[in-house]
């Protein structure tokens, strides 16, 4: 059967350009991950979680059908025109390529103003209290401090553990107004390659370190306000909120 993808992210496209074979890494209700030998990842799934730079978007009916024949470990022949599985072909020729948005740094004050309206006090009862996060964020600016992000990486539930989503939020604010010591960025970059978090999270953080964020995040800087922030909140079961919490805590750091 031939299925059609509707959109493809720039990073996914460049991975396909350089890899003839990838394999199915993991399968969820709304999508699945494929990886090359270096564990570079492409997420193929519905737009339920927004558009990713390393994502390929398919509709839910296609996902429903693909799930039937897909198993972890399946080999896929890939090129920029199609992803071939022995049971189906996913045609990419008609997919709209979406270029990731550069982070716009013009509206930081407005972002800061808008995010103030959200209440994150419930985090205080868990592993990510504002005290803990404040200390981590303060230490990030200090090159003398011991690597502060070890606590957050891979901590929490789910596909992208909450701590990682917070890191994405922190790195986004770093793009708006750089504050993290170079040393800590370098350490994070090497640390996440040591199998300390899920492969999906690793991909997000790697890209965030390069200043690449998913559309729902860049939208916040492009049009600061409750609309873009509410849209981010809808992401995943808690991912969006965790990310926004990272943004909130970083923008309101002392």
């Amino acid at each position: 059967m031939i299925y059609e993808a509707s959109a493809i992210g720039e990073i996914a496209l460049s991975l396909l350009k350089n890899n003839q074979r990838m394999r199915v890494h993991s399968i969820f209700t709304n999508g699945f991950n494929i990886v090359n030998d270096n564990n570079d990842l492409i997420f193929i799934g519905t737009d339920k979680n927004g558009y990713f730079p390393f994502g390929i978007t398919i509709n839910k009916y296609t996902m429903h059908h693909i799930r039937e024949s897909l198993q972890t470990g399946d080999l896929l022949k890939t090129d920029t025109g199609a992803i071939n599985h022995h049971d189906f072909m996913l045609n990419l020729k008609h997919a709209e390529t979406f270029i990731y948005n550069k982070v716009s740094t013009q509206n930081t004050a407005a972002v800061k103003h808008a995010v103030k309206h959200y209440d994150f006090s419930d985090y205080n009862s868990g592993d990510f209290s504002s005290d803990i996060l404040s200390r981590i964020i303060t230490d990030l600016g200090n090159s003398e401090a011991a690597f502060p992000l070890g606590y957050l990486v891979g901590r929490g539930q789910g596909l992208t553990p909450s701590g990682d989503d917070m890191i994405t939020g922190i790195l986004y604010v770093h793009c708006l107004e750089p504050f993290i010591a170079g040393k800590h960025l370098e350490t994070l970059s090497s640390y996440i390659r040591e199998n300390v978090t899920t492969i999906v999270s690793e991909s997000f953080i790697r890209l965030a370190l390069d200043g690449i964020f998913s559309r729902r995040i860049t939208d916040i800087g492009d049009s600061p306000g409750t609309d873009s922030m509410d849209a981010l909140l809808e992401l995943g079961s808690s991912s969006g909120r965790d990310t926004l919490y990272g943004i909130y805590m970083t923008l309101n750091r002392r």
């Binding site: 596909l159 899920t198 079961s237």
Partner: protein, 583 residues
């Protein structure tokens, strides 16, 4: 006591994992349980919650880890089962199937209980090879797969015929074997009408009308659309007719096809003239030119169904076409067009034929249309052209919604026609998907004081899961005029714009009785007289319909050998069969 379960390279959304943690913790006899991805940071959380174990250290960041604190070791299995169910997509979804699974032919044949049929839905490139394997293993073949080269079809059908087996398909969308529905099929009452057809929705329309008229069909054999081509020579249709003829339960044989090549039609008719049971034949697309004793030549699908029912009741055939009357319209002068958007290909062909024969407008040839003229258009949205990369319109309403909207806004549109084919394989509630759009466009036309009629027909029975009456009611409530059959719908549409479909009046011709050999292999008789025992190669959802009918099925989770290298696979295939037949 702590127990650790590790699910390697497994993921779930955090919400699923959290719910799972809660569910496990709430189990009787479980003191505490936690489920998380095995990242180093999460291992610290486990330890912090006194759930640290030595096994935990072996888990990687991409594994799901479950640590259970219980005094009762037997609880661990229970937890493991609960986890597997949840990770497979929640309770009740994938665990309903009692079917067994295999990964190769040997295992599949071993697991199956006297298998006699392979149901194949893997990609066309590989389907022919597996069909051949199935035939070599003595199985009849139902090939849902399309894109099988014609020369492979000829070879497979010849091989099957020589072995006394049947190949239904390729591109066979519908079949009922001994009341077991295969692929996209309705649940139809058992009965004494035997159907063989080269068209999927044609079989669905005819069998469902038969059911609604109170009769039944025990076997409806699909042949695939190319069976009546010159090259294939109707091998499957001829063998099927012979089998239905030998089946003492069959009183009437009903044959459905597009008009075939002349020599093939002669071959089929010659066989039909050799048998004693009454026959109804429909070569949809052409007006029948005569009637004959023993064979009733029909013009439309409804007529085919009605004639079959009347003959099975021992009555003389008398078909009175119907249309819906009393629809009040006041079309503008430019509103002359009938626009039809079908999910069923044969239904589209039937509409095209009736409009073409009645309205006499010059046909404009265009690949995207089953029929197009200055005023009218009939589109089969299930055609390859529209389904490339998209789900079939019986599953996905998107394309039809789009067409409904654009055609409703078009000045020349007077009548819009739609089908809703229900049954196995179709959308769970297509009527509700289409209803909002139907309502919007009819309301809009009304507010502009413009006449616009949306006609709809539901292909199905009251035994179909979607509910025949419910689907009709939803469409009716949305503002559509509901027609009982496609025939009635097209006649109604044509009458609304001032035409009238003429029913062919035919003289009776007489022919010599045919002299075809009517003998049939026992394997064919066994196929249509027993519940099939199926090896399902490909789409797992096809097992459901088979199981619901009480037949046995083994799921063969097919993987290509030789890493999917087609050339190498063919070499292996040749070597395997070469040895098999000469040793």
């Amino acid at each position: 006591m702590l127990y650790t379960i590790i699910k390697e390279n497994t993921y779930q959304d955090s919400i699923v994992l959290m719910l799972l943690s809660q569910k496990l913790s709430a189990m009787d006899g479980v003191n505490k349980a936690s489920v998380m991805m095995g990242t180093p940071a999460n291992k610290d959380i486990f330890k912090g919650a006194d759930l640290g174990t030595p096994e935990l250290e072996t888990a990687s960041a991409n594994d799901i880890v479950i640590v259970v604190d219980t005094d009762d070791e037997s609880k661990v299995d229970e937890v493991n089962d609960a986890v597997d169910t949840e990770l497979a997509g929640g309770s009740g979804s994938d665990d309903s199937a009692k079917s067994q699974e295999a990964h190769n032919w040997n295992r599949a044949l071993e697991l199956a209980n006297n298998p006699n049929m392979a149901l194949i839905s893997i990609p066309g490139t590989y389907a022919a090879m597996e069909a051949e394997n199935a035939l070599h293993n003595g199985l009849h073949v139902f090939m849902f797969s399309d894109n099988v080269p014609k020369e492979d079809e000829v070879r497979l059908k010849q091989l099957a015929h020589d072995k006394g087996l049947l190949v239904m398909g390729p591109d066979c969308g519908t079949g009922i074997i001994h009341s077991v529905p295969l692929a996209f099929t309705n649940t139809v009452a058992e009965g004494d009408i035997g159907v063989v057809g080269a068209s999927g929705t044609g079989i669905q329309e005819v069998t469902t009308i038969i059911d609604r008229l109170g009769k039944g069909v025990t076997n409806a054999i699909g042949t695939g659309g190319r069976d009546l081509s010159t090259e294939v020579g109707a091998i499957t249709m001829l063998d099927s007719i012979k089998a239905l003829n030998q089946d003492p339960k069959v009183k009437v044989i009903t044959v459905i096809s597009k008009p075939p090549a002349k020599e093939v039609q002669e071959k089929v008719e010659n066989l039909l003239r050799s048998i004693d049971k009454p026959v109804v034949a429909l070569f949809l697309g052409a007006k029948p030119e005569y009637q004959e004793a023993g064979i009733y030549h029909a013009y439309t699908l409804e007529e085919t169904a009605v004639a079959s029912v009347q003959l099975s009741n021992g009555e003389e055939v008398k078909f009175t076409p119907s249309s819906i009357e009393g629809i009040e319209v006041d079309f503008e002068p430019e509103q002359k067009g009938i626009k039809a958007y079908y999910s069923g290909g044969t239904l589209a062909s039937e509409a095209a034929m009736m409009i073409k024969h009645t309205m006499n407008e010059e046909e404009i040839k265009d690949e995207g249309f089953t029929y197009k003229s200055e005023s009218h258009e009939v589109i089969d949205l299930g055609d390859d052209m529209y389904t490339q990369g998209k789900p079939h319109p019986m599953i996905d309403p998107e394309k039809r919604i789009e067409k409904l909207e654009t055609s409703a806004d078009s000045e020349d549109t007077a009548v819009i026609m739609l089908d809703n084919v229900i049954g196995y394989g179709s959308h769970a509630d297509m009527a509700s998907e289409l209803a909002p759009t139907i309502k919007r466009i009819t309301d809009k036309a009304a507010s502009e004081e413009r006449s616009l009629v949306v006609l709809a027909t539901v292909v199905g029975t009251d035994k179909d899961a979607q509910g025949y009456d419910k689907q009709r009611q939803i469409l009716k409530d949305a503002g559509a005029v509901i027609c009982d059959t496609n025939d009635q719908m097209v006649r109604t549409a044509i009458e609304l714009i001032g035409g009238k479909v003429a029913q062919p009046e035919l003289e009776v011709k007489s022919f010599d009785k045919g002299t075809e050999d009517l003998s049939v292999d026992d394997k064919m008789m066994s196929l249509i007289s027993n519940n099939p025992s199926v090896i399902n190669i490909g789409l797992k959802s096809f097992t459901e319909a088979v199981e619901n009918s009480g037949a046995e099925v083994v799921q063969f989770n097919w993987r290509p050998v030789a890493g999917g290298d087609e050339k190498l696979m063919k070499v292996l295939q040749f070597l395997n069969n070469y040895e098999g037949e000469n040793v």
